[in-house]
Subunit: 309 residues, 2 copies
């Protein structure tokens, strides 16, 4: 982790929400950039980011942040990436690397790719890290530590630029995997998009159940429900854009999920205890593997502390 | 919390897994029982419980533990309650209170009620607390602190016995609510049983997806999936019994969930961003209420620590 000189002279962050601000903190910690330029569309976010001081300069125009940067990372919701790319395209320096942090990758290649000029290296990326909080106050340097970042270079991507971007993410604490964008979108559909969708859905179902009051839902949420409310509290714009832009893969895994759920429903209706027991035993093993891989804690209840502070 | 004399001279725990052993620890902390007698069916569990020392005596026969007790709490999976009640029935002292900790209540009244002799007070109970761990090693005194315990007395229950049981649970750190067993089963179907069912289901779906390897599921689980694996690691026997014994309420809320999910599926297919945004915004408010009610932590990612220890 000891670095004699910064990896980049100037890095631009287009968007300084949870991921953008965490990247700024992580870059500072790792000594990765001599100058970090930030852009946020809203004056409030720019003012707050300036106050927090995680960027060296804040800009009202994305192009002004991106101008002269060696690395530009688009950190907006997926639905805003096309406009962001169109805005920065003309300001990009030859040889610069452009990346993003969007949760879908095929749609991002479709939307961003055409705006990247010849001689600039566009390499899509996706750090598998986050919290249910959003905005510039939510960022912290450790967010990417031990998490994976997936890069999905298009065929013909410059090897040197790819190596540099891998070094950057490692410097932010990530582990890095490279894969095809279509495969990324399917893997994330099952490990992230479907979990969010069914979490949002069950919270909505509970809220609509007229025989059970909202007070009861809240009081007795420690029975399991509260776990789902965490990811169902994630940023609504970000997640709307994910579902609008990864439709096919999400519909595919959702079809599987619904099929499996129908089989479980039938097992409950017919009192098939063996089928239930078999499934409930199999799923335990996956939890153990996730803990062994350092991707979750073995502490009961995630080690959460619900004591009044 | 200062108590001049124990609330009970003798309390018997029929079953010393996560809940039974936590009750023993909480009773010790609160000075609630002069003597705690424990029973476990398996010799291994009895030996381990004796080693851990949270009971004053361990018994191979449930009746021996229950004999002479002022309070007997059945802490076995719901499917084993009928046999446990049949075993202790003849040994129960007149005036004793019998309760349980099962996650369903109408079926428990059906199964346990007939085995309770005249003059003994049977008051079903359910502490809404737990972890994904099980067995006598998993218990700890703080498990019930700030959580709710629901009691579902049948009509005609002795008021004094009910008051005493409420005092007992408060002494264990719980808050107490009294309701009808049928309402309990519906409330828990949505706040606990359905969340477990869909968690088990999504983990099963992911495990079966042939285009995505298990290694990929594990590596990228921090995208949301890992949250579900926690409750999908809960005790398989306990949960099989819950679904076999709360069939109607679970099928009712599952029907609602599936309907809502179909509407979401349609919104994704037709690109209805407004519908998605509206739902994703509404669900955020419920999270905030749960945190405000002290039922979950506001710390990002449950405050989980995934650093290698």
């Amino acid at each position: 982790m000891t670095r004699t000189a910064p990896l980049f002279t100037k890095v631009a962050l287009i968007g300084v929400g949870l991921i953008g601000s965490s990247l700024a903190h992580a870059m500072r910690r790792g000594g990765l950039a001599a100058h970090i330029a930030g852009h946020a569309r809203s004056p409030e976010t720019r003012a707050r980011a300036a106050e927090l001081g995680f960027c060296d300069s804040m800009h009202a125009e994305a192009a002004d942040a991106a101008r002269g940067a060696d690395l530009v990372i688009l950190c907006t919701p997926v639905g805003a990436l096309q406009a962001a790319a169109a805005a920065i395209g003309p300001a990009l320096k030859p040889g610069a690397i452009v990346s993003d942090v969007g949760s879908v990758k095929t749609a991002v290649i479709r939307d961003v790719g055409p705006h990247i000029p010849e001689g600039v290296h566009f390499i899509p990326g996706h750090p598998i890290a986050g919290t249910e909080h959003s905005g510039p106050d939510a960022g912290f340097a450790e967010l990417f530590d031990g998490r994976w970042c997936i890069l999905t270079p298009v065929p013909g991507t410059d090897e040197q630029a790819l190596s540099t971007l891998i070094e950057f993410w490692r410097g932010c604490g990530s582990r890095v995997e490279v894969m095809d964008s279509k495969h990324h979108d399917l893997v994330l559909a099952i490990t992230s998009h479907l979990p969010h969708l069914i979490a949002y859905n069950i919270v909505g179902t509970a809220d609509d159940l007229e025989q059970v009051t909202q007070g009861e839902i809240i009081k007795f949420s420690a029975g399991g429900f509260r776990d789902f409310t965490r990811i169902a509290a994630s940023d609504p714009v970000m997640w709307r854009d994910v579902f609008l832009n990864n439709r096919e893969a999400v519909l595919e895994v959702l079809g599987r999920f619904s099929e499996d759920l129908s089989a479980l429903q039938r097992a409950i209706r017919w009192g098939d205890g063996e089928m239930l027991f078999e499934l409930f035993t199999r799923t335990r093993a996956i939890r153990r593997s996730i803990i062994a891989a350092g991707q979750d804690t073995a502490a009961p209840n995630f080690g959460r502390n619900t004591k009044t502070p």
